[in-house]
Amino acid sequence: MTAPLLQTRDLSMHFGGVKAVRNVNFTLAEGELRCLIGPNGAGKSTFFKMLTGQLEPSHGQVLFRGHDISRAHAHEIARLGIGIKTQVPSVFDGLNVRENIWLAASRIHPRARVDAVVDEMLERLGLTGVAKRLVGQLAHGQRQWVELGIVLSTNPDLILLDEPAAGMTHEEVNKTAELVREINRSKALIVVEHDMQFIRMIAKQVTVFNQGSVLVEDAVENILRNPLVRDIYLGKQAAA
């Protein structure tokens, strides 16, 4: 049996006395698309930070294709093939859109090919028209696209998306869902999202976080019917 793409074993993160994430055992297969939901403060973003080397776990392990990456540096993990789109867009605000994508693409492509790769990515995300604009001056939705472009340009095998649809218009949400499905044809993804509409559009398997641990893991239709999940998280939204 081959190792799963990503696996965590008893992964925990304590901040002082606060246990933000506790004993999470999580497995993701190659090419899988998984949604992560849970109320604010459930530990989803902390979990992502441990997967990408931004936080060192208090204990437990993160295995990527069987290699322990729990104590690896963020840049080493990125080179192994994990990319992340953070909750608040983390982009190079003082540079223009093209330069943003260029920086990402030039990490993996030889100099002669970078420009062509960048053009392709700008076209794919519909950013060609704003290529010369400073990213800091773009609308929130567009900055999200730029960050997605940056992440895709390093060609990772696993992409973590932290609330990709947040602050987007209805039309942009649809476009994002379509893009996520397209990316999933060749890559594995973990998507944190609050927008249930969006989750219905993309998800098959959903993991629910609550108070730092995994509450339940099931297919999306079962999750939506699960009374426990409704209680702690969906209550208001499902009733509405």
Partner: protein, 357 residues
């Protein structure tokens, strides 16, 4: 005109102006003015060293004078011991770079935050100042070179043409050499900043965490730019020791460290021409004010003669009113004028079009 054409135009202008300045100055002005300009040019190389690591690399280093002073002392000491200037010149560049590598390794790999980085670099400079200051006795010597404590090292032998000890570079030659070194530094840095490395260090300045999540190791890139900055400051230090044939611990002093930062603030971070303009402008002003001895009892002449006071006012006004610095603000103004012209042309065209329609 697109950005690329503007860029090339700027480069061309700097090249033409720089070469003309280098060739014409000694033919047009007296030797004392040439001497004065030489020191401005040498300090401009020092300004460029900080323009790279702070303006582009985002590393606020209060201790650029540490590398400058080390370069000067290294040249002086090596020169007394060796006698031929090729090796001392190289050492004056390599030793500060190595020192920057050591210091930078602990700062960047120890994940020291920006504020502490400033404090550490400043402290290192002051430690060097105090250490060298207390080397007055005859027991403090390296080879035949006495360190001399606060009195410094006088009578440093000048640079010679490579391999020929007796062919000493004269005062006019020093001007050509320093201006040539400044131009080479400027164009070298332009090339560096246009390269992949240069674009990555700017990316790290903009968002270090993002660069890291893309797979770049910010520590290594910062260390590399810090070393290049150290090497350039060392080169400037070597030329400085040559210029006055003298070096003393004040080179490591607080005033010197602060000045470099002021040049970059006034000229503009994120540009190379800016810090050169800031450096030369402020030095010229300091000299002019210093020469202006208070005459008579008019109160304002006394204020004008107080160079530190005037420089302080300039610094505070820049930080408050022109925070981007001289050159970026002028560039913004130029672009605004261009847009205004375009706008005017567009509005004057409209009625005509209406008539034709």
């Amino acid at each position: 005109m697109n950005a690329r054409a503007l860029n090339l135009l700027g480069l061309g202008l700097v090249a033409i102006f720089g070469v003309a300045f280098m060739i014409l100055t000694p033919r047009l002005v007296e030797l004392d003015v040439v001497l004065e300009l030489t020191i401005y040019v040498i300090m401009a190389i020092l300004a460029l060293s900080l323009a790279l690591i702070w303006g582009y690399g985002g590393i606020l280093c209060f201790g650029q004078s540490a590398f400058f002073g080390l370069g000067a002392y290294t040249y002086a000491i090596a020169m007394f011991n060796i006698g031929e200037s090729t090796v001392p010149l190289l050492l004056a560049i390599l030793l500060p770079a190595a020192f920057a590598a050591l210091l930078g390794y602990f700062m960047f790999y120890g994940r020291i935050s920006d504020v502490y980085l400033g404090v550490i670099t400043l402290t290192v400079t002051l430690i060097l100042f105090n250490s060298v200051n207390s080397t007055a006795g005859p027991e403090f010597h390296i080879g035949v070179a006495r360190l001399g404590g606060f009195n410094g090292i006088p009578g440093i032998p000048p640079l010679n043409y490579p391999g020929n000890k007796s062919a000493v570079i004269d005062l006019e030659g020093m001007f050509y050499l320093s201006t040539g070194a400044l131009l080479a530094t400027y164009f070298g840095l332009r090339l560096l900043l246009a390269s992949r490395f240069g674009r990555i260090i700017v990316g790290i300045r903009e968002n270090e965490r993002r660069a890291e999540l893309l797979g770049y190791d910010p520590r290594a890139y910062k260390l590399a730019s810090f070393m290049i900055g150290g090497a350039l400051a060392g080169l400037a230090g070597c030329l400085f020791a040559n210029w006055g044939n003298f070096v003393s611990p004040t080179i490591f002093g607080l005033a010197q460290s602060a000045q470099i930062i002021i040049w970059v603030i006034v000229g503009g971070r994120g540009t190379l021409v800016g810090p050169i303009v800031g450096c030369i402008g402020i030095q010229w002003l300091s000299t002019a004010l210093g020469a202006n001895q208070p005459s008579g009892s008019l109160w304002w002449t006394k204020i004008l003669a107080n160079a530190p006071l005037i420089l302080g006012i300039i610094l505070v006004s820049f930080v408050l009113l022109v925070p981007k610095g001289l050159v970026p603000t002028l560039a913004d103004f130029g672009q605004w004028l261009l847009r205004l012209r375009k706008h005017r042309m567009a509005t004057t065209l409209k009625p005509k079009q209406a008539e034709e329609g």
